[in-house]
């Protein structure tokens, strides 16, 4: 068939989700945040929950997430998204609530809020973008920065004696009685993107079923922070991040 015969409205099999706004994302080229935003938009669209979903944006590169998804949003103080989400969900149990946080936000300054929201089993979805770095502020070490990995506050590579160990917060959260679904995904290939979407769907459905906290970690790249091209970043991630942050479900109850 000729290409111009294919390019017809009735033949569209993939296009930008209607839940995404028309704003151009401020992210760097190839940033995983964009992919995950898109997936959440698709999930919200498919589950038909656009009018009942409240998103909680972090402080981090995703601080302006609210510019990109056509739903109601709250922008939280650094690390406190789980506290906001707790209140939003408890006050409006019939609404769908998700938080969206980076690794600095969720696993450094927000450690207490993260652990206690999960331990209370707040009936929410937490999306966790683990790029092993503070993207927003210019590439400082994050709690999840790998041993030996360079960042602007460990310019010679993370050294546990000086900088502490990388923190597997997701493994911790999986041990808590309040979480029902804890999974680690990625977005470096089309297949992995599709799997991440499935995980998100399960997480939102769990919330509809009142199952408690679902956490979807996405191991992500930050080409600016890592100082590599987006495609090289993906390779680096596969080689270095996945061995330490292995993909898969940690808990599914």
């Amino acid at each position: 068939m000729d290409i111009k015969d294919i390019i017809k409205d009735e033949n569209v099999i993939y296009k930008k989700s209607a839940v995404l706004t028309d704003n151009e994302m401020h992210y760097c080229p190839g940033c995983t945040h964009g992919v995950v935003h898109k997936l959440i938009a698709e999930v919200i669209e498919e589950l038909g929950i656009q009018d009942t979903t409240i998103g909680i944006a972090p402080v981090g590169c995703a601080v302006f997430a609210y510019d990109y998804l056509e739903i109601d949003w709250q922008e939280a103080a650094h690390g406190r998204a789980p506290a906001l989400a707790t209140a939003v969900k408890r006050l409006m149990p019939e609404k769908m609530v998700f938080s969206y946080q980076g690794d600095g936000d969720l696993a450094a300054i927000g450690t207490a809020e993260t652990i206690h929201a999960c331990n209370r089993g707040e009936n929410i979805v937490m999306v966790f973008i683990n790029n092993g770095i503070y993207g927003m502020t210019g590439g400082q070490m994050a709690p999840t920065t790998l041993q030996g990995m360079k960042a602007s506050t460990c310019p010679f590579g993370r050294e546990p004696q000086q900088d502490g160990f990388p923190l597997k917060i997701t493994e911790i959260l999986a041990t808590l009685p309040g979480t029902s679904f804890v999974t680690r995904q990625s977005c470096h290939t089309a297949a992995s993107v599709r799997k991440t979407k499935k995980a998100l769907i399960k997480a939102f459905k769990n919330q509809q079923a009142g199952k408690g906290t679902s956490l979807v970690e996405v191991v992500a790249t930050c080409s600016s922070g890592w100082k590599q091209s987006p495609t090289k970043s993906n390779d680096w991630m596969v080689e270095n991040m996945f061995p330490f942050y292995p993909l898969g479900d940690l808990k599914d109850e």
Partner: protein
Amino acid sequence: MKELKLMKGNEAIAHAAIRCGVDGYFGYPITPQSEIMETLMEEQPWLDTGMVVLQAESETASINMVYGGAGCGKKVMTSSSSPGVSLMQEGLSYMAGAELPCVVVNVVRGGPGLGTIQPAQSDYFQSVKGGGHGDYKLITLAPASVQEMADFVDLAFELSFKYRNPAMILSDGVIGQMMEKVELQPFKPRMTEEEIVAKYGDWATTGRTSNRKRNVITSVSLDSEYMEEHNHKLQAKYKACEEDEVRYEEIMCEDADYILVAYGSSARICQKAVEIAREQGIKAGLLRPITLFPFPTKQLQKLAQSAKAMLSVEMSAGQMVEDVKLSVNGAIPVEHYGRIGGIIPSPGEVVDALKSNFIQG
């Protein structure tokens, strides 16, 4: 149906919150105000009104839960005492920046640091000047009785929703711990989402409905022009507060030569000091600011025309006295008398201070 009860100031706050239809309370224990959450937990309002009551993991979490709840247009509150309120400063700045209403109760104890659990009024600056970062104000109410502890919950919510700005009830260990008679307001039902929209407008994140654009609660912008405009909007609200919301009580000020200025429990003591002074033939009066922000600047200016001097009496090293001075602007002498570290001045001491500053002095 109004009910007359004998209870602590802290308990009165809890009961008033339930009765005026508060949607959520989030808090963390600290002396001398833990009875607020304890009373709520004992009353289990979630069974009746659906009010959410949650013990948070910290004050930082509490204030951010309050942020989340307020962002949904709900009437939400927290309470704490001095060190805990310090931990809320970032959150309060965020709420002011995002224009969110809420009520925060500070049952002040002596500082700095862990300090003492005894009563003090040394968090005036923090409440009134803005302990967090940026240009913002908290609408600040200072109850001087258990009755006002109860009444100001509703009032604080009214004001905070009217201006979409956090309101502080600045109390202290005396008012929080003492029991007095209190007449509780009748139960008001919690507002429905529709009622909230009708009364306060359609800004909350309750889920984007087809008849409005999505709502976003945020305090950030990278566009400085926008940020300046936003800040001017905040400042305009504070100006409006100063025009319209000043509240104070005057006791024997008409003919007074000497005005005591005092709020909260100090005002109770000064009331007695005025009685004693008058007995001794000193024409004293009391101006009790009920709103600390907005401050009764104009009324003090007026009194400065007839009075000879003013004495700001505070359980602090001298904080409100600055606002008294700024009001009077040099027209008459203004001095401060205070006890600190958890000590409560006696009425007699206050009279002595009046004399030594202005009369024998």
